[in-house]
């Protein structure tokens, strides 16, 4: 039945007048409301409803991907509906190369998360919150109105708070509260920035207030200092969300106590709201401030990469370990943005997608592990590879992707990020590259303790993956390999939008030129002198952008 519904949806979504972006937000929203209205006595109904909703949204996101015009840099499928006229707040959605794959990732990961794990109690609420979370994520990635974005950004907090607080383990209340208060506090700064920006820069019809993203970036009347302060406000919210060092400590707690689906969506999608925010609402809204703050952000990102890895190595709990590895991996995503060149930013978007896939897959596998052994403690596990070879094999593949072995997806993003950063800030890239050593260290060490050795009594009867579990892993494993071998279709769609952003940066910021390579043409070669190089490419107060000739 659901298959026929899905296919008819796909056909309908193909027609040009179909408001596909609005449906991406409203389908899960309506689904959530319907689930909430369902009788508590029929829990299976709410599950079916959630699955249908999530699958439908997923299919819609795929339809969006299919119809997306590859070469275009601007926003596509734009829908606009005035909402609060007096404040020029609109229901304004659009998608470009930067948000496209985050939307698709949301569409893919949510249904998988539903299939990967079931709640141990009160299924109705669980499914309603999860579906609402999906709507919030979709809305946040698609919004082109600052108020709408803020609303969606905040909406995502509530379901996750509930998921952790009600369906989590152990110290779930502590973790949920910490998560909620921390991100809420960050958002408060963002709200101030947004409102100020709407009033200052708005060129709306009603008294100069506008939350319209396109209008705001079209006007250009921000004083330098104001821009920097407003950027800082946004940056705090996003840095908490990413999470960037030193704002990261809510993440391990939230992950450890969250139910599997919560962890998958938190790591897979919600963290990307931070990096996506930096890209869309930092880089595009405040070009000057972005360039000015870039060294600071790069430093935080580099620290995150190394520090996150080191702390991950010392964890005794698998979920905490993966959480800290997320700090390191998201550090790469953050780093690429502030490389401020096409390679770096494209790599960053790629890294967001890849991190969603690999970390999502890791959390699913940990969920399977938990359902068998009811523990995440490394010391309780041993020798699982002997009794569950398929499980170990899939885990190994995902682990290698996470380490960044080329041929698998994780490599592409990390590599491009480091490549781009090397061109703009060499020594940051050189330091961050040590992250590849540390990633191997903590993952292989954990793998050895959990999977290798002779299984002890408690782990002797560890069952291997069931068919249903294999099916859940199949799309993610497929994507891990496909994106590693042939990332071109993804990169081709990301690139025009990234170029647009970088070009705009060059136009808006005086004296800024995209930090690029020599293209084999000039000054690293003997004929030229190193001085010209340094003048030309000392982009900002950056002591390390110097040429190799020094």
């Amino acid at each position: 039945m659901s298959v026929s519904i899905l296919s008819s949806v796909l056909a309908a979504a193909g027609s040009p007048s179909f408001p596909i972006l609005a449906s991406l937000v409203f389908v899960p929203l309506v689904g959530a409301i319907l689930i909430a209205l369902m009788p508590k006595s029929r829990p299976e109904l709410s599950r079916q409803m959630a699955i249908i909703t999530a699958l439908l949204t997923g299919v819609l996101s795929i339809a969006l991907l299919v119809q997306f015009k590859t070469g275009e840099a601007g926003f596509q499928f734009v829908v606009q509906q005035t909402w609060v006229e007096s404040l020029d707040i609109k229901f304004f959605l659009g998608v470009d190369g930067i948000s496209l794959f985050l939307v698709v990732l949301t569409g893919i990961l949510f249904p998988i998360a539903l299939f990967a794990a079931k709640p141990d109690h009160s299924p109705k609420g669980y499914y309603a919150w999860l579906t609402l979370l999906m709507a919030g994520c979709m809305g946040a990635f698609l919004a082109l109105d600052l108020f709408l974005f803020f609303l969606m950004f905040e909406i995502t907090l509530v379901p996750l708070y509930m998921l952790i607080g009600k369906w989590g383990h152990g110290r779930r209340i502590y973790a949920a509260t910490k998560f909620f208060l921390y991100t809420m506090l960050g958002s408060a700064f963002m709200l101030v920035s947004i409102v100020t920006l709407a009033v200052l820069a708005g060129a709306g019809d009603n008294g100069g207030v506008s939350f319209d993203f396109t209008k705001i970036i079209a006007t250009d009347n921000l004083a330098t200092t104001t821009g920097r302060w407003l950027f800082l406000g946004m940056a705090i919210a996003f840095a908490v969300k990413v999470p960037s060092f030193p704002f990261h400590t809510w993440l391990p707690d939230a992950h450890t106590e969250a139910p599997t689906a919560g962890s998958i969506d938190l790591a897979g999608i919600l963290l990307k709201l931070g990096t996506y925010g930096f890209l869309r609402y930092g880089l595009e809204l405040f070009p000057e401030a972005t360039v000015w703050f870039a060294p600071v952000m790069l430093t935080l990102a580099t620290i995150g990469v190394v520090y996150g890895g080191i702390v991950a190595a010392m964890q005794r709990n698998l979920k905490r370990l993966v959480a800290y590895s997320s700090v390191a991996h998201m550090g790469f995503a953050l780093m690429g943005i502030f490389a401020l060149n096409v390679e770096g930013i494209e790599g960053s978007v790629m890294q967001m997608v890849n991190h969603g896939i690999t970390t999502g897959a890791l959390f699913i596998l940990l969920g399977f592990l938990y359902s068998r052994r009811h523990t995440y403690e490394i010391s309780e596990l041993k020798g699982i590879a002997k009794v569950a070879p398929v499980f170990a094999g899939v885990f190994t593949l995902v682990m290698l992707a996470s380490i960044g072995v080329p041929g698998l997806n994780g490599f592409v993003g990390e590599f491009l990020v480091l490549l781009g950063t090397f061109a703009s800030n060499r020594w940051w890239a050189v330091v961050a590259t040590t992250g590849v050593i540390i990633a191997a260290l903590y993952l292989l060490w954990a793998y050895q303790r959990v999977f290798q050795g002779e299984p002890d009594e408690a782990n002797k009867s560890f069952p291997d993956l069931k068919i249903s579990e294999k099916l859940v892993m199949l799309p993610l494993v497929g994507l891990i390999i496909f994106l590693g071998v042939y990332p071109k279709p993804v990169l081709d769609r990301i690139e025009p939008s990234v170029k647009r952003v970088v070009t705009r940066l060059e136009v808006k910021v005086e004296g800024f030129r995209e930090p690029v390579t020599r293209d084999g043409a000039d000054l690293l070669f003997k004929a030229g002198s190193s001085h010209g190089l340094n003048e030309e490419h000392s982009l900002r107060s950056n002591p390390n952008g110097t040429g190799a000739n020094q």
Partner: protein, 675 residues
């Protein structure tokens, strides 16, 4: 014909895919035949392509399959560069890999994960071929990491034993240190040239500013010493012997570990453009590694450990060759070494197999009568590595030494001393394993002495019965530790009956012995006509190779010296180990046996200071950073005591608050709606 080049890596990949999905169902022995067949076909294809390559201009052919990573100005293809260098590599890699696959069908017989072994092995061959055929640095890096991952899988193949798992992990992580250098080198290459494709940036290299070239060359060198186990990153290779012996032969002797040498030879124009300390560093590190590893090999008791350190030492020779500008010599030695070292490892495997998983040379001896084929082929390998003319190792080692002499007499002398040590420790190995008295089933001398003392002491206290069982269990666990968790385990002390291996294991030995004997004829130094390899590699390395005159007299003297050195080493070992004129303990110093304490020092440092540092940072995260967060939270809520009361029913309270807030928000928005 040459267009078939894509098939060379595709065949092992296909074998891998078949085995990964159906390996378990296919089972033994057919999984082995599929794996072997895929690689053998790949070898046949390589031969066909080789014939085709003769017809190509400059013996070079490029094939691009598709664009792999395009982003901004950066772009790399999945594409192959077939030139004399990669062709030579492909031929010997596929050839030796086929033989080792065949050998493995016998060696791994009965193992519970037999199909998995061939799955990994095929994946390895695929990765290795991508490494050498890749037409750009990033694709080479893909192969580089792929072989590293396979090496990790295969070292830890019997992962039930913790030390095997640790050895695999150590190999991967040590290699990653090198990979850091490799990646930085890629970034710098792209930064300088705007491309990382060999055929595009290598021709531009001579114009490169010296500091830039130096930076790239140095970082690639860092990558190379990781993969090729040079000082200080060699510590993983001896441990890698935890893997099954065919793995040691294929990955940790013949192919993967030579990847670093291949990389440096490939980028020879960059090395030529860099500061002079780069080749000097390469030469010195190579020379030092060769010498150091040879001294360690002198004192090892485990037959595979001797060969492992010997591999490190021989790789040192290849680095020395690269450093002194003898690129052809490096490749020449790489090929001859691949033959004789694969042969030696497989021979050792045959011995270990025949001795029921005994690896300690103190429990071998006089095996030549029982294992005639193994013994004869092993002896050929021994003569080759010891540098006895006219076996292959003599010619390739001498080639390197000639280049070393051209650069610096000191390098030459150390190279000669190392050659003497090589002849000595290899003769020691052969004499102890194949000659002398049969010591099968004996426990090692030292342990024997201990046991006796133990027995005597206990007997003194008068608990005879207990003593008996004590020693019994003692030796029992001892054997358990020494045998692998392999199918046919050693069943006890008295029941060791060595036997000769079966034909799938012997055929590769015979073929490899043949090539180990004659491979020297690839590049005889006497006339230009005889230097086939030199002329073949000329288009790739000719420009940057060191050139010097090798007159008849000088050449003759050098060859004579080398011969004398080789025979001195052999005779010295003969006097020590067969004639027993000198106590071996005066040579096998504990300092050597413990590998100059380098590994221990690194491990102690990593486990001590390094680990402490990591723990401190983790503690910092918990106490300072998270502590600050919680502190702020606590402060705002007015102390920890109240916190607990607030936390009760927090969820409901919060849900209520959120609900109220949401309703208010929606209500506000609805009043303003103007649909």
């Amino acid at each position: 014909m040459v267009g078939l080049v894509w098939l060379i890596p595709a065949l092992p990949l296909a074998g891998f895919l078949v085995l990964v999905f159906f390996g378990k169902r296919i089972g033994e022995p057919r999984a082995g035949w599929i794996g072997t067949g895929a690689v053998a076909l790949s070898f046949v294809t390589a031969c066909i392509v080789f014939v085709g390559l003769w017809g190509e201009p400059d013996h070079t052919y490029q094939l691009s399959l598709f664009e792999w990573i395009p982003a901004g100005r950066f772009s790399v293809d999945i594409g192959f560069l077939l030139d004399p260098l990669s062709m030579a590599m492909v031929l010997f890699v596929t050839g030796i890999a086929s033989l080792i696959h065949l050998y493995s069908t016998g060696y791994m017989h009965g193992d519970s994960r037999f199909p998995l072994f061939f799955t990994y092995l095929n994946l390895f061959v695929f990765s290795m071929l991508v490494l050498v055929l890749g037409d750009n640095l990033v694709l080479t890096f893909l192969g580089w990491e792929g072989v590293g991952a396979c090496s990790y899988f295969l070292i830890a193949f019997w992962f039930e034993k913790d030390e095997n798992a640790s050895a695999g992990k150590k190999a991967f992580i040590t290699n990653r240190v090198g990979d850091w250098g490799f990646m930085v080198a890629i970034f710098m290459t792209f930064f300088a040239f705007g491309t990382v494709t060999y055929s595009e940036f290598l021709p531009m290299a001579p114009g490169l500013a010296q500091t830039t070239a130096t930076f790239i060359a140095f970082m690639l060198f860092v990558g190379a010493i990781g993969k090729s186990a040079q000082i200080p990153l060699f510590v993983w290779l001896p441990d890698a012997m935890a893997g099954p012996t065919p793995v040691s032969a294929l990955i940790h002797a013949a192919t993967m570990v030579t990847a670093g040498v291949y990389l440096l030879v490939r980028v020879n124009p960059i090395i030529a453009a860099s500061a002079s300390w780069i080749p000097w560093t390469i030469a010195i590190v190579g020379c030092a590694t060769a010498f150091l590893a040879a001294t360690i090999a002198l004192a090892q008791q485990d037959i595979k450990k001797v060969l492992a350190y010997s591999t490190v030492s021989q790789l040192g020779y290849m680095f020395l060759a690269v450093g002194v500008g003898g690129y052809t010599a490096a490749i020449f030695h790489m090929i001859t070494h691949a033959f004789f070292k694969a042969l030696l490892f497989l021979g050792a495997g045959s011995v270990i197999h025949g001795m029921h998983d005994e690896q300690d040379m103190r429990r071998m001896g006089a095996l030549r009568k029982i294992m005639p084929v193994t013994a004869v082929t092993f002896i050929i390998g021994w003569l080759a590595i010891a540098g006895v003319p006219p076996f292959s190792g003599f010619w390739s080692k001498d080639d390197i030494l000639a280049y070393a002499l051209n650069k610096s007499p000191i390098l030459y002398v150390i190279g000669l001393i190392t050659a003497l040590l090589t002849a000595f420790y290899m003769s020691r190995l052969v004499f102890r394993v194949f000659y002398g008295d049969a010591r099968w089933g004996e426990s090692a001398e030292g342990e024997l002495a201990n046991l006796k003392a133990h027995t005597a002491m206990n007997a003194g206290t008068g608990v005879d019965a207990v003593t008996g069982t004590d020693t019994g269990t003692g030796t029992g666990t001892d054997t358990d530790v020494l045998v692998d968790t392999h199918e046919d385990e050693g069943t006890g002390l008295s029941s060791v009956h060595p036997h000769e291996s079966k034909w799938p294991m012997l055929v590769p030995l015979v073929v490899l012995a043949f090539f180990a004997a004659i491979a020297g004829f690839l590049n005889l130094p006497f006339t230009d006509q005889l230097q086939f390899l030199n002329r073949w590699l000329e288009p790739v390395v000719g420009e940057n190779e060191a050139h010097f005159e090798m007159g008849g007299v000088k050449l003759t003297v050098e060859l004579l010296i080398s011969t004398v050195v080789a025979f001195s080493g052999i005779f010295a070992a003969y006097f020590v180990y067969l004639k027993k004129k000198i106590d071996p303990r005066r040579i096998e110093l504990p300092f050597f046996a413990n590998g100059w304490y380098i590994d221990q020092s690194i491990t102690a440092f990593m486990g001590g200071v390094g680990r402490k540092g990591f723990e401190l940072i983790a503690m910092f995260d918990k106490v300072v950073i998270d502590g600050a967060v919680n502190g702020v939270g606590r402060a705002t809520r007015g102390g920890a005591a109240r916190l607990r009361t607030v936390e009760n029913g927090y969820v409901r309270w919060y849900a209520l608050m959120i609900g109220v807030g949401a309703v208010l928000m929606v209500a506000f928005v609805l009043t303003q709606v103007s649909f």
